[in-house]
Symmetry: D2
Subunit: 346 residues, 4 copies
């Protein structure tokens, strides 16, 4: 059994991770970290876990945890993982960081967008960007994986074949994304109260959201050029789900079939990516609770643009599910182990 510890296990992503690890046949959770609830029964915070988890919340002593665990998941605010990690920890345990600390290779970009000083830039180089479908082989060998953001996973996977195959003008990319409210976290803030979110939709982080440089960097690797794009997230009155609607100008006239072939080339064998039948477009309800990403696209001949759409569950493929997928790769397990949840509808 792989012994796993979670730092930040009482946030929404951390709790989703706890749920997946609990159902994972090869994992035993040895540490439910939660600075806010140290000493309290985990199942008194997440009552869905009543009688399933019999453990008290621990602090975020990552060194002590490294001595007990084979793998550490950090589902914590930006900066924490970078401030705690060190050679000793990495020598004892593999680390999957669900925060943004090791996602961006250019430390100045990270520091600018996040407004933080990076406390351990020496590990940025070795950290593998854990988008399994793209970086599978590198993940297998990694001891530190930067688990991608929720918006990022959805946006990159939706656009990747188009950019990689040079089908679109990368300077024309616009991503209009919509997220369920669990993406805003479990902090007690007025804007996230039920009555503030319900019966409304809004854009936020307009032209300034932190997932922008992450998307740009990864798509830049795909095409070999600098990518600068527009990314606009929106808050939707639902618990889970991200829908990314991406627009880009096609470089030349292409058919649905030609573009479909590009998607099949990269995703045809991927279990967790479902290319929908022609004419059927992603809806978040069809992936809820699962690790799937549903993708499809339409070519608009009138404007010469392609509209590519992706949907995933922000807490699963956008966070905890992908973290488990990365862990599976890192430990040589079958990639889908413990990730068998069928999307739950309604």
């Amino acid at each position: 059994m792989i012994k796993a510890g979670i730092i930040g296990s009482t946030g929404y992503a951390g709790a989703e991770l706890a749920g997946f690890l609990l159902g994972h046949p090869e994992v035993q959770v040895v540490w439910y970290g939660s600075r806010s609830y140290v000493g309290e029964e985990y199942s008194s915070i997440y009552k869905n876990m009543f009688r399933m988890v019999d453990a008290k919340c621990m602090d975020d002593n990552m060194e002590e945890l490294a001595a007990e665990a084979d793998v550490i998941f950090t589902a914590t605010p930006q900066g924490l993982c970078a401030s705690l990690i060190n050679d000793e920890i990495l020598g004892k345990a593999k680390v999957v960081d669900l925060s943004a600390d090791f996602r961006i290779k250019d430390v100045r970009v990270y520091e600018t967008w996040y407004g933080l000083e990076h406390k351990s830039p020496q590990y940025i180089g070795e950290a593998v960007y854990g988008l399994c479908e793209i970086n599978r082989e590198d993940v297998k060998k990694a001891r530190l994986v930067a688990n991608p953001g929720c918006y990022t996973t959805c946006s990159i996977l939706t656009l990747y074949p188009l950019v990689k195959e040079g089908l679109v003008d990368v300077s024309s990319i616009i991503i209009d994304a919509k997220s369920g409210t669990s993406g805003a976290g479990r902090g007690a803030k007025v804007p996230n109260l039920f009555c503030e979110v319900n019966e409304s939709i809004k854009a936020y982080g307009i032209a300034s959201h932190r997932h922008t440089p992450e998307i740009e960097e990864q798509l830049g690797y795909a095409c070999g050029e600098t990518v600068v794009l527009n990314f606009t997230p929106h808050l939707v009155p639902m618990n889970r789900g991200i829908l990314a609607t991406a627009y880009a100008s096609l470089k030349k006239q292409v058919s649905y079939g030609e573009v479909r072939a590009a998607y099949e080339k990269y995703y045809g064998e991927e279990f967790f990516i479902r290319l929908l039948p022609e004419g059927v477009y992603p809806e978040t309800r069809w992936v809820e609770g699962s690790n799937f990403v549903d993708i499809n696209f339409k070519i608009d001949e009138r404007t010469g643009r392609i509209i590519a759409i992706g949907a995933l569950d922000n807490l699963v493929k956008g966070a905890a599910g992908q973290a488990v997928q990365n862990m599976n790769l890192m430990f040589g397990l079958a990639e889908a182990t413990g990730l068998g949840r069928i999307p739950m509808f309604p």
Copy 2:
């Protein structure tokens, strides 16, 4: 492998059942019945099943199905199962009926409350009421199980120990129940449109809901007297979940501990019933997606009443999950096989 067929697989309960059977290690689904969608790809109706189910919808030819399947689930409107079932079918396959046809032992009560003539009353006697926690041994031997209703399961399990142990005056029982909207089914009706349900709550079926006699009959068996009670269902703007708030007058002054002991006596060893810690009350969010029933109660010394509260997921323990639990018992499998889903929150 147990071969299973579902009649009515495109309603919400039928689809939930399909999902559970798909993840069941001992079952293979051989028949996705759906009169409305005969010949259509199942995964074109329930797109969450895309790439997981590769089958077309079949009609409701129960005789043909009985020749292929070891177990038949009927998740159909009242009256259909009773009109199709016969000795030949029951001789070939076990049947779990998710409709009300075989739940009520007194055929006149059935015909009065449902406004239907019962087409095969000869099987009412042998049908076992499939509330596993109460009738486990009978279920194991049954070839025809009447799977209980969603409100009914929640109401009976919440009150059973109180009634069985004679702690309450059964003539004082009032059950005020609240259900998510999936309980109303997938029929295209104006009252179930999003804008009609959202931002509202209403009572319905006041003093006339069909689950009333079912609750009364089962509680009557528990206490050995005729039970007549008030049951009022309410429609809540959420997808899943039932909360039953039950009121009854205590026969004598008792402590929390004494009543708790009664609940522990019947449910202490039950995996799917979670008696919550004192002072913690059921909320539907904590059971969503799972086969759990959460129960607790409070004694109000001012009024001499007990308020007992239960919560479950109407599509799982209230329908498909319980059907699988029954099937497991009928086929000698471990009762929780394929029912390992941890409640999904948020």
Copy 3:
């Protein structure tokens, strides 16, 4: 023009009140009090008011406000109004208190249920309980009105004719109430976050909610005896609305028409109470945004009980609308002035 000040104008009830007063032809708001936001533009907190309110938030200096205003509304936490009020203030301005401070005549009951010392019990006697339909004449002469609670208004009005006319056994009354989430206020608390409330229903304050003694006291006045009852509130995933489902044993066999006559006797001329047609039951969607209370009932001959149901908008008839209705009475205006909002659906 009546000059009005609001203490606590940035809570949900206070903001609803601001909206009603803004549309009131005889009122000018001179003071938007909000301790939390002193000095900030009111319309930067409630952006629906952008370009409609041009004022900054003020502190809760009730003495200074009394010098400027003809009427003061206190939409504040329990205890504040009682701690600020004095003879000088009451000599200058009429006061409508939306908190519980002056609702309960027995100060010990108040102090027990609220866990607070009452700071100005000398005004409890003169304070009029502002349930306009019951205490209209007293409200007209009052200088201090205790505006009833939201659950209370709904519960009392639903049961009043039954209790007043002696139709039911008051010891048998059980009120199962359901509220939208705005009733929980605008405080930043985890249990009120969108993801915690959405897709769930729960009971709370079981056998201990503070509105219980208020309901009991008022129904006690109606029947001339002590009333002890069960009141159980539930939190519903919607913004607004309260539905009260009340159960009581009928003292003798009566027809729908006989009971209807009792309701007509008290409410037949009431503009804001709508007795629905026989067979039609209240739903919160039909009163949303308005000052209406919709009421109807059903007699269950099987159990000898009556089920009476009422619905209102907790922020309107349950708070701000009723406060305006009280103000209208206190100032000799037509009772419905400024309260003409038609329920908004969907």
Copy 4:
């Protein structure tokens, strides 16, 4: 008093219109048309209107209605108004058509996008496109007004100053719009059931939605060139509200102030358009129930694009409110008469 008739008064837009006309000081509704409910009490369909409307539903005999009414509103499916209208009707009553029949000047464009033959193309020329803020003077003189679509009103008003002033490259315009579910109408269809819409978001009508040519035509008039753009609507789990997020490339580097001046030029005096303070962006909750459109924008220097965002209530400024605003203009009333509703939050 202006006598008004509504054809299609039991759809969501028609009912919202009935509500506004009921509160309008200069209007009396003489005809509640509804083919589906002929002969039924209007308030039995829309129970919010109980005791406020005492009338039965009428058929859609527009000729008979024209003899009784000064103004006819048609809130009906595409094609109906065009099939009923004639010179006699237009000679007797003014008509405000809330359907698409007279919005598009090029009949071939209409017939192509709507898949219908236009039954009275002879009136297309005289029909005035009733976007009051743009065509106010023409509306005043019109006898037939084509009331704009909900998405269209939001999209055009959000982009108009940018296009009119030549600030953006019109070939670069992309509009990503999000709508509440009331926009889908009150028809009983499975995709609009609560459980299908709740907890999900989807795009629909991708590169093919019928509001596209309407937006293109009107923006084309503003800039004097043909406009071809991308418009993608999305369905959001909320009752009301449209948010349009529009992207366009700026022709040259401009400051926020310069662009703001363009918006102020056209909207500075408009009552129903609220240009929000810099840095504050539209959210649908702040306009709900009102006739306001909230607008703001951000310049993204990194990409050279502007992101302009608009929000309105689809049933008000996107349908019924705008229809009343048009009627007011046509009858020489103050434009905001009867449209005083303050946005309702929460």
